[in-house]
Amino acid sequence: MLIVGVFIGALAASLADGSFKVEAVPPVWRERFGNSAGVRAVGAFLGGTVAMFGARMADGCPSGHGLSGLMQLSISGFIALACFFGAGVLVAALVYRGGGGAR
């Protein structure tokens, strides 16, 4: 029910301020991999597969370990968040190399 709520809340808020936008390929991705929605879909799928396998193994994601863990001053939260972000920075630098800025 929480997830259903997130969907409703984000939909209502984006429609209310006009920031709702149908997007199949985000600009940063397009600059590096071109405008193919199919390539982006495969990337999103494979990235999601690896990320969720890792999140299940680490027993949490940036919400569970990052937010909830750091609030509770949990050591596992600090370790996991450092690994999430460290690996993210490294892979992003390799993958989007040559692409433009994010802003």
């Binding site: 029910m1 985000p26 999601g48 990320a51």
Partner: protein, 175 residues
């Protein structure tokens, strides 16, 4: 009120706030990993700062009981690195990807399908990992105050200063 309704109402508020914070988007998530746009870090820092003080106050008054996750070095580190790598390519967070679909980012649907596949794969691998790898470096639930042998408040005070300094740094650099 039933937990179902509480979940729905919390979810609607969470979704609307995440959307208004602009943190659901691929651009913002990858922007942080490219160290070009720290929107999601600032969003997380302020959430952690408020939550850290709030939840420890509630615990001090006995209104909630904290339940920090176990520290399992092998799984936390290897799983964390796998997550980080996948996250950079996916560009969404598991908990909020549904919100990204809701604001029109249809490619998040494929990220969600990929995550379902990843969860299924992990379930398949679990019997093989359970007895060996997932027990490596299992230290049980551990907290920073517990390790340092102090109460929570000195740690909270130091961390609050660090988080605020990080915030100031990001703002000064225009990130």
């Amino acid at each position: 009120m039933s937990e179902q309704w509480l979940g729905l109402i919390t979810g609607v508020a969470f979704g609307a706030l995440l959307q208004q914070g602009r943190v659901l988007r691929f651009e913002k998530q990858v922007g942080a990993m490219l160290l070009k746009d720290m929107t999601i870090m600032k969003f997380m820092l302020s959430a952690i700062l408020v939550g850290m003080v709030g939840i420890n106050l509630l615990a001090a008054f006995g209104l909630v009981k904290l339940s920090p996750k176990a520290t399992v070095l092998g799984a936390n580190i290897v799983g964390g690195i796998l997550f980080g790598g996948g996250w950079a390519i996916m560009g969404f967070c598991p908990g909020t990807s549904v919100g990204a679909v809701a604001e029109g980012r249809v490619h998040a649907v494929f990220a969600i399908l990929g995550m379902l596949a990843g969860a299924a794969l992990f379930a398949e691998a679990y019997p093989y990992l359970e007895k060996g790898f997932l027990k490596m470096g299992n230290l049980g639930p551990m907290t920073l105050p517990g390790v340092l042998g102090v109460g929570p408040w000195p740690v909270i005070a130091v961390l609050a200063v660090i988080y605020i300094l990080a915030f100031v740094f990001f703002e000064k650099k225009g990130l």
